[in-house]
């Protein structure tokens, strides 16, 4: 009996992973790729459809110029060349959630091609290493509808009694971004993949072309992984793991595939070329459709659409309107915020850059914003295995809590409890403070009573202070805080105590 997976260390000692990443991004255009239907997420099934996106007989597509503009933005931001002339093609295959039984996509003439980008991953010694990722292409296509399989145990088609199809998603504009082969030091592979997807998320948000809600599937990653024996130039058979929908899962799924394929190969087996499904809950991939070479999509140029030929003037206009490149922006922000390299690295790796930017915009100091996002929220996200933006806590909440700290109504310790409440969905900061009874006691008389108790209980300390050692008063502050069960503003306590002791 062979093992299912090798230890990752053993796997990487024997094999070098080779990766390719395909990322599908749903654009945030108001209307669909080829018709005027709205693209709002979560509408009742089949309410955002028309003859075009339902593929009714006779209906014809018309290209959404906004989607082309977004595609060009993405292409330019990934340092791609923008085609002077390109076409859509039909990818022919039958599936009930695809109304025309062909997907209108781009094939050998993508709108953007030959680009590159750079990602940062932590190095072992606390520094940062940069890796260049070559971009093969970014092309436009339409999304399919969404099938729900009913009656089976697993929600998968196998064992289901029937399936329901929602065509609201059919025709939503997608950009598929395809990397060239990524070959990095074996132990870095999974981290580089995660950093790449995370970087794309930041980039797409900065470009304002997508909401990039991974939990809603607006960014989906397919990871191609193969292994080759260490030092060998011969590529192995690859698998394609579909729909890996969080940064963390990208890293986990790739690591899993490396360990699985290593186990197969080291026991003398052969990796099967196939599509695999990623299971978030169990952390494994399972075999999906076998991708035989016989699969033939019979691509040909879409005759219902005229070629897309963006003028050079338009492309340059778009280029000049692009926001600052994320890498340059990072340098600028680090300077403005006075963060050390290490601090900045932690912020970037913790995916906290954008939240901190937004929190600082709301009037919070960079240091405080970093403290909450990295110290509290990133930690909570990590503990619960979620991405930071799925926690349900946003810049507005962080700013609200910090405002209360600044006003002296909360201290850091209590603020942490408020964040804990926010993560657990207990309501707004005010509601949590109310429910958990977290407000600082700012009533002077209650504090003075506590101070009197502390003075009475610690005559030796008072003696020290009176004998010219004011620093000893710290112990009295500690006693007061303990008495108040932490719900007092330490600065206020010091002020009142000093007055009492005449120092």
């Amino acid at each position: 009996m062979t093992v299912d997976v090798l230890e990752i260390g053993d796997a990487l000692a024997q094999y070098d992973p080779v990766m390719g990443l395909e990322v599908h991004v749903e654009l945030n255009t108001k209307s669909k790729m080829f018709c005027g239907c709205p693209t709002v997420f979560g509408a009742p099934p089949n309410t955002q459809t028309c003859p075009v996106c339902l593929g009714l007989p006779g209906a014809l597509p018309v290209v959404n110029a906004r989607a082309v503009e977004s595609a060009i933005k993405i292409g330019l931001a990934l340092n791609c060349e923008i085609a002077e002339w390109c076409r859509f093609a039909r990818k022919n295959y039958f599936y009930p959630d695809m109304p025309k039984n062909f997907q209108t996509s781009q094939y050998d003439e993508p709108i953007a091609y030959n680009g590159w980008t750079e990602v940062a991953v932590p190095s072992g010694d606390g520094g940062t290493e940069f890796y260049r990722i070559e971009i093969e292409r970014a092309h436009m296509e339409e999304d399919t509808g969404k099938s729900t399989h009913v009656g089976g145990a697993t929600g998968r088609i196998h064992g289901a009694s029937h399936s329901l199809v929602d065509y609201n998603r059919a025709g939503i504009p997608l950009i598929e971004i395809v990397t060239k082969t990524i070959e990095v030091p074996a132990e870095k592979a999974a981290a580089v993949a995660r950093a790449y997807v995370s970087m794309l998320r930041d980039l797409l948000l900065a470009l304002d072309v997508s909401d990039v809600r991974m939990d809603q599937g607006s960014l989906r990653c397919d990871a191609n992984v193969s292994l080759k024996p260490k030092g060998s130039p011969v590529l192995g058979t690859r698998t394609e793991t579909k729909n890996v929908n969080s940064f963390r899962s990208v890293e986990r799924a790739i690591t899993y595939e490396i360990t699985r394929q290593a186990a197969v190969l080291s026991s003398g087996g052969k990796v099967v070329q196939e599509t695999r499904h990623w299971h978030e809950d169990t952390g494994i991939t399972t075999s999906g459709r076998e991708k035989s070479d016989a699969e033939d999509y019979r691509y040909f140029p879409e005759p219902d659409l005229v070629p897309v030929a963006p003028s050079r003037e338009w492309v340059e206009e778009i280029r000049s309107s692009l926001p600052e490149a994320p890498s340059l922006r990072r340098v600028r922000l680090q300077e403005a915020w006075s963060f050390t390299d290490l601090e900045m690295r932690d912020v970037v790796n913790g995916n906290a850059l954008e939240p901190i930017v937004k929190t600082v915009e709301l009037g919070v100091t960079p240091a405080a914003a970093k403290k909450w996002w990295l110290g509290e929220l990133a930690r909570a996200a990590n503990e619960s295995g979620q991405d930071l933006d799925a926690l349900g806590v946003g810049p507005a909440e962080v700013a609200e809590v910090q405002k209360l700290v600044d006003a002296g109504s909360l201290n850091d310790k209590l603020a942490r409890q408020v964040f804990d409440g926010l993560v657990k969905g207990e309501g707004t900061p005010a509601e949590i403070i109310e429910k958990r009874g977290l407000a600082l006691v700012s009533d002077d008389s209650a504090l003075i009573e506590a101070i009197d108790r502390a003075i009475a209980a610690n005559p030796d300390v008072v003696e020290k202070v009176n004998s010219g050692k004011p620093a000893a008063a710290g112990a009295l502050i500690g006693a007061v805080m303990k008495d108040m069960r932490g719900q007092a503003d330490a600065a206020k306590v010091r002020e009142l105590l000093n007055a009492k002791l005449g120092i």
């Binding site: 209906a59 025309k100 033939d296």
Partner: protein, 501 residues
């Protein structure tokens, strides 16, 4: 009052403007005519009696209220069953769409409605427009009003036969390789294939997207031009639509003047395989145009000989993909849905039962031509031929204004004659296909009867992109000269149909 069904659209419009007839009376007269003769002709798949009379009443109301109406308002029309009309059964001649009522109007129908044209019903056609005789209709074969034992041409045989049988003064067809012009030629009527992109394909159930073109049919050149003007023009719903003004087709039809026009006779479209009677009428017409002042020269288009094979790769390729949507999932026929069969099985059973032989033949051809490893040799090569044919036209139009040829190599053939020989059937469209591959405009005008069989012959005129007006200039001049010669229109020589009901 004289029989309203014998009038041209222009005459009917005059009767309505002068208050001598209402649209309801005219529409009813045509519905009566359909009831009387369509049992024999079988031009209609669906007659929308109530809908047509309601549309007619609406036009009459508007006219009574003094509203501004288009030149064809209130005139009835027969619509090829390949164009969607909201709420009216639309089958494209196929069982797979039996019972489907589209939830939307095609652009052509929208424009007909805004022109006040009354839609009588949907006409028979070869299934998904694949054929040249209507024998591939999944429902029945339409009969040629000139000889009920013969086919009316196809795929739009229903539309042309309806016009020739006086069931409608106007009809809409669609032309992918000759489906308007060839039935026009076979029924002694006018059929125009506008420039590709000159009329909108939105709502046209696609056969081959890069070739399909909706167009007008009628008994006179002027009627055809008026209908052309009503349906043509840029449509933002069709991205292959041309953003230009409609060529001045009505003016051209009224001018009837070819003096100084340079006409090129295509050398490759004639000779062997052409019926002598067809060639005789064609050459007489060319002589007539010469007498009217046209400069006639012979022009060579050497790549036309490859048009047929290229067409029968491009068309099936596009069709195989266009017809993939007929899968029983959302509309139309559904076979084998027993709660046990998979969706894939239901798709396959439905397509097996719902498509006819010719449709399956072309889906298989197209699927093969697009498959990996064959794509370059078939589809890719055919696209190259297409470019060469476009160059032939471009070269020719440097020398002449229009090109002419017979519309078909023969006259209408007997029902069943070529049903088992697809290649013989395909050859019907030898003269008409090159134009579709190039996207130019073309038309067939009646130019007499062949001596052998006393059946109509079509005179084929081809014009450059968006010069559709030239077609009407030639057609109207020829029509006037021939009418003078015959002492009336060709249709006057058609045999009277027996009224069956």
């Amino acid at each position: 009052m004289t029989d309203l069904t014998r009038k041209t659209a222009v005459e009917l419009a005059e009767l309505m403007t002068s208050g001598q007839a209402s649209s309801v009376e005219i529409t009813q007269a045509h519905l009566d005519r359909i009831a009387a003769v369509d049992g024999a002709v079988q031009a209609f798949l669906h007659v929308d009696t109530e809908g047509a009379l309601a549309q007619a009443a609406e036009v009459d109301r508007k006219r009574g209220a003094g509203e501004q109406l288009g030149p064809l308002a209130g005139v009835p029309l027969a619509l090829k069953d390949v164009l969607t009309q909201e709420g009216v059964p639309t089958t494209a001649g196929s069982k797979i769409l039996e019972g489907w009522k589209p939830p939307y109007d095609s652009t052509v129908v929208k424009r007909l409605r805004s022109a006040g044209i009354v839609i009588l019903g949907k006409t028979n056609m070869d299934e998904f427009a694949m054929g040249s005789s209507t024998e591939n209709s999944a429902y029945f074969t339409t009969h040629n009003p000139w000889d009920l034992g013969r086919i009316p041409g196809g795929s739009g045989g229903g539309s042309s036969a309806a016009v020739a049988a006086y069931e409608a003064p106007l009809a809409i067809g669609t032309d992918t390789g000759g489906s308007i012009r060839q039935p026009g030629a076979f029924t002694g009527t006018v059929g125009v294939k506008p420039t590709y992109g000159g009329t909108s394909r939105y709502g046209l159930i696609a056969l081959a997207s890069s070739l399909d073109t909706p167009g007008p049919c009628a008994r006179t050149t002027l009627d055809t031009a008026l209908l052309h003007e009503a349906i043509a023009g840029y449509d933002p719903m069709d991205s292959t639509s041309i953003k230009q003004d409609v060529p001045p087709v009505v003016d051209a039809a009224r001018r009837a003047d070819v003096n100084g026009l340079r006409i090129g006779v295509v050398k490759e479209l004639g000779g062997e395989g052409y019926q002598p009677g067809v060639e005789a009428r064609f050459h007489e017409s060319v002589e007539l145009l010469t007498k009217l002042g046209a400069e006639v020269v012979e022009v060579s288009c050497p790549h036309f000989q490859y048009a047929l094979p290229a067409y029968y790769l491009i068309l099936p390729s596009e069709a195989s993909s266009n017809l993939a949507k007929f899968d029983a999932m959302r509309y139309g026929l559904r076979v084998g849905d027993d709660g046990v069969n998979s969706a894939e099985k239901v798709m396959s059973l439905t397509r097996e039962a719902g498509f006819g032989d010719e449709v399956k033949r072309r889906i298989m051809l197209g699927t093969h031509a697009l498959s990996s490893g064959y794509y370059d040799a078939y589809y890719g090569q055919a696209q190259k031929v297409r470019t060469l044919i476009q160059r032939d036209f471009a070269n020719a139009y440097e020398q002449v204004d229009v090109l002419v040829s017979p519309a078909t190599p023969t006259t209408a053939f007997p029902i069943g004659d070529r049903a088992d020989d697809p290649i013989a059937m395909y050859k019907n469209d030898l003269c008409t296909i090159p134009v579709n591959l190039a996207g130019n405009a073309a038309a067939s005008f009646p130019c007499g009867l062949a001596d052998e069989d006393d059946l109509p012959v079509g005179f084929h005129v081809m014009a450059p992109v968006m010069r559709d007006d030239l077609l009407y200039q030639v057609g109207s001049a020829l029509e006037a000269a021939l009418a003078e010669q015959w002492g009336g229109v060709l249709m006057a020589q058609a045999p009277e149909l027996e009224v069956t009901r």
